[in-house]
């Protein structure tokens, strides 16, 4: 550093700094004067405000938007109910208070304490809901003893109500209270403590749309927490309504058909991918859980080996069985391994890679071309095709038809399923692929896993001659909600319309020409479809079911569409342990096709 720096003239700069300091000093003095005014001169005013009057904000909960089916029938509604909250600030003697409250409300004391403990981080004046879902007649005895319980607040709130009961429960989902932890981690959602938000289904998917805007009442409260008057009020705004593509009549019919069984029915609008019905059985009544508290029934459902809470349509993983022969056919034709005229001779069994493989029809089908192989679901034909294609091409065809990835339906928790390939096996199991496994995959067994919705979506694609559709539940939301529904992004179509026509010919024969799917036949409706029966299932579910005392029969599949040209509806049925697909699943689909035809006749 240069020496002259030490002697440089800094007086001007120093003077300026000093001036600024004295200005600051003067400002501090003025501010202090204002504090004097507030604390000494106006003390009485503020002391009075602090002592006697306190403004409290009471949340006026906004009702959630309604959920309707395509015809306007209400599926999720709101009804008035009452809740009782505890304000810890007003408790005088904690032990006595808890005891008295538990007697008054009929809840046991440990539960009450645990409930309060969960919210111990809240400000003491904030109410903690301790009982909800009460009717007016429950409230009367509590109201009459208000003066004894200054710590209790009784408020009405709109409560979710599902007028159709268990109907479409898996589609609608249910609500749950958010834990304080969850609320804290996502502050931008502005969820109020004690608010019920969508946990699954449409309630979850469109939660932001359905949730309204809470209002508030600003009340003047005295030192005992008693309301002295209201200062201002902001009215709550109900959430947006949501209309689903669902058709309640079809949904009810689908659920009736599944009653007493485990299984899935998916009905899609073949024109736009709208979900007309989506039933998963067994099911549950969501009305029983519209409370912040965990009823025993709930725990029962959670641990039920048949997992009624699971939506099997999007979360159940099954081997596709013979349904997969549609994928084989499309791949075989599309990649040029066979032509519609190529024939394979079925004698009832054949030897492939050193092992004897049987057709399901022991006497043998004789000479089979593609359409007849689909119609009769001939294993030998598809064994032969599978050997020609090899696993990589099979996997490619499956992937192009939407298997092994999510369909993109507007429901959370959808599973991807699994399309095995050489790379997959090396990565997942660290063993090379054996050609014999290809043969199992060729008839939809082996490691293949699909969800019923994937099969329905694939069928819709076949019906549309390759046009890709995204299944969706939302028909439309109110204007301005800004949610787009539509078809999936276009992908280059690998298979030509002619390819699809050839497969559809086989599917038509299966139902209308004495094939395996004839149970789904509906007069004058030209149903096309394919059956499937799967011999295996995932090991976990097998064990689960073994515990529940079920014997392991085959799962029964049917997937089809109608009419053959300008298709309007796709129906996919899966019945767990239903036996042969033709015997169990096809007639269920037939009922739905028939109902749809009758309903839309003349339209």
């Amino acid at each position: 550093m240069p020496e002259n720096r030490i002697y440089e003239d800094l007086t001007v700069v120093r003077r300026r700094a000093n001036v600024v300091f004295w200005i600051f000093a003067a400002l501090v003095l003025i501010v202090l004067g204002y504090y004097w005014k507030v604390q000494i001169v106006d003390h009485r005013k503020y002391a009075a405000m602090a002592e006697a009057n306190r403004i409290r904000m009471r949340v006026l909960a906004a009702p959630r938007g309604l959920i309707r089916d395509r015809n306007g029938v209400i599926l999720a509604d709101n009804r008035a109910s009452f809740k009782v909250s505890l304000v810890r600030e007003n408790i005088k003697d904690q032990a006595a208070s808890y005891l008295a409250i538990s007697r008054l409300l009929g809840i046991d004391e440990p539960t009450l304490r645990a409930r309060v403990d969960l919210h111990k981080d809240l400000q003491l004046f904030e109410p903690i809901v301790i009982v909800d879902g009460l009717d007016p007649e429950h409230i009367a005895p509590i109201e009459s003893r208000r003066l004894e319980f200054p710590e209790l607040v009784v408020e009405s709130e709109p409560q979710r109500f599902y007028p159709q009961g268990a109907l479409a429960a898996h589609v609608l989902g249910y609500l749950q209270e958010q834990t304080p932890e969850e609320i804290r981690t996502r502050p931008e959602r502005k969820i109020r403590v004690g608010e019920m938000v969508g946990k699954t289904g449409v309630e979850r998917e469109y939660d932001d749309l359905l949730r309204g805007q809470d209002g508030a009442a600003y009340e003047v409260v005295d030192s005992l927490g008693r309301v002295q008057g209201e200062n201002a009020r902001v009215y709550p705004v109900q959430g947006h309504d949501v209309t689903l593509a669902l058709d309640l009549k079809l949904q009810a019919e689908a659920e009736r058909a599944l009653e007493g069984r485990e299984g899935v029915v998916v009905v899609l609008n073949a024109e736009d991918g709208g979900v007309l019905a989506l039933a998963s059985s067994p099911t549950y009544d969501p009305n029983r859980f519209i409370t912040r508290f965990t009823p025993e029934e709930w725990t029962g459902l959670m641990t039920d080996p048949l997992s009624p809470l699971e939506n099997r349509a999007i979360r159940g993983l099954y081997a596709p069985g013979s349904i997969f022969k549609l994928v084989m056919s499309l791949g075989g034709l599309g990649f040029g391994f066979v032509t519609p005229e190529t024939t394979v001779y079925c004698s009832g069994s054949t030897q492939i890679y050193g092992a004897i493989r049987h057709c399901w029809f022991e006497p043998g089908h004789g000479s089979m071309d593609l359409a007849n192989a689909i119609k009769n679901s001939c294993n030998i034909y598809f064994y032969t095709l599978g050997r020609r294609m090899g696993i990589q091409k099979i996997a490619e065809a499956a992937f192009r038809l939407g298997l092994g990835r999510k369909t993109g339906i507007d429901l959370v928790g959808e599973k991807e399923g699994l399309v095995p390939s050489e790379d997959w096996k090396m990565k997942a199991l660290k063993t090379p692929w054996y050609p014999g496994e290809t043969i199992s995959v060729a008839i939809g067994q082996g490691q293949l896993q699909v969800t019923p919705l994937q099969i329905a979506t694939m069928t819709a694609r076949i019906a549309a001659r390759g046009r890709q559709l995204r299944p969706h539940l939302l028909k439309d939301a109110v204007a301005g909600a800004g949610i787009a529904v539509g078809s999936a992004p276009a992908e280059p179509e690998p298979f030509t319309a002619a390819t699809f026509e050839a497969i559809i010919a086989g599917m038509w024969k299966s139902v209308n020409d004495g094939g395996t799917g004839q149970g789904a036949r509906v007069a004058d409706f030209d149903v096309c479809g394919k059956t499937g029966s799967t011999q295996t299932m995932s090991r976990e579910s097998a064990q689960k079911l073994a515990r529940a005392g079920h014997e392991t029969k085959t799962h029964s599949w049917f997937s089809g569409f109608a009419p053959r040209d300008h298709s309007r509806i796709v129906v996919t049925v899966l019945v767990e342990f239903g036996g042969g697909g033709g015997a169990t699943a096809a007639p269920v689909a037939g009922r739905l096709f028939d109902m749809f035809r009758q309903e839309t006749q003349g339209k």
């Binding site: 550093m1 020496e3 720096r5 030490i6 440089e8 800094l10 001007v12 700069v13 120093r14 300026r16 700094a17 000093n18 600024v20 300091f21 600051f24 000093a25 400002l27 501090v28 501010v31 202090l32 204002y34 504090y35 004097w36 507030v38 604390q39 000494i40 106006d42 003390h43 005013k45 503020y46 002391a47 405000m49 602090a50 002592e51 306190r54 403004i55 904000m57 600030e89 111990k120 981080d121 400000q123 003491l124 004046f125 502050p187 931008e188 508030a216 600003y218 200062n231 201002a232």
Partner: protein, 365 residues
Amino acid sequence: MMMIDRRLVQEIDWILLGLILLQSLVGVFFIFSSSHVLPGAYHVRQLAWIGVSLLVMLLVLVIDYKFFVSLSPYFYGLMVALLAATLVFAKLVAGTKSWITLGLMQLQPSELMKIVMILVFARLFADYKRSYLTTQVTLGALLVAGVPLLLIIAQPDLGTAMTFLAVIGGSFILAGLRRKAIVLFVLAALIVGVGGWTVALKDYQKKRVTTLINPAGDPRGSGYQVIQSKIAIGSGGFAGKGFLKGSQSQLRFLPARHTDFIFSVIGEETGFVGVFIVVLLYFALLARMFLSVNKARDRAGIYIIFTASLLLSFQFLVNILMIIGLFPVVGITLPFLSYGGSSLLASYVACGLVLNVKMRRFANV
């Protein structure tokens, strides 16, 4: 050279250091008072932060401030990069992206940026010997300050961005402002203000300003805070309601009472007497810092002392104005008193720089 000399130790302003520690301890007491109902033992954490800040301050003292000044461009580059990274990567905390997580501690890079700005401006003006500011230098300085400022505004952390004005404005005042320049700055401020109001300010920020004029217009939002804070202070009266006895049920109405609104707790529980004492302590502390300019050996030293003191004074003033409803609620902490590691650390380092300049006034170069 790097090791601290015994002569230097004697030159440390022990009175200033004592005032800083005293003020911090007052803070710990009222942090306890305002947060003992909450889980998290904030007062203990604050004590730990005071320890950490003291250590860092000590490190700052060991090294000659000129070394910091000469390194300031590197600090600047590093901090700008960090701010940009924060903007991109940091988890959204309370709607702003101002936090970065370093192990267990969360740091706000914007707080440290203030310190870097002090050093950068000291370097910028260290050799500026004219008696008034030229346009060229003004624009250059605004450019240097503008980059981090915009990054902080984008977070968005308007409160911290505002404190930068103290550093920038302070430096300009020292460098000398002509009347014409003052008029221009006021005009520019008006244009930016009006433009910012209509274009850039978010609704919640606008609300804070309108609330200042009419607090009852938003009784639950920022107006609620101000109303409750004012009631708390006013009801404290002359002698207060006593430690831990703040009515308003221990101020449970008041959000952020152990951070931005801690002075309301002091006002309520210790009354005007407490307010007076704390303000007096502040005044003594800041006066001692400010008046150290007369002891600085060179221009860079004067700039450091002045901008650091002005920074703390500005935060102090804005905070005590804000909590009594004379300034919009902008999220500026009360230095030394409010709970919060980053803010405490920044204040200690700022003081450390002042002490550093002061103790080296006679030192040989």
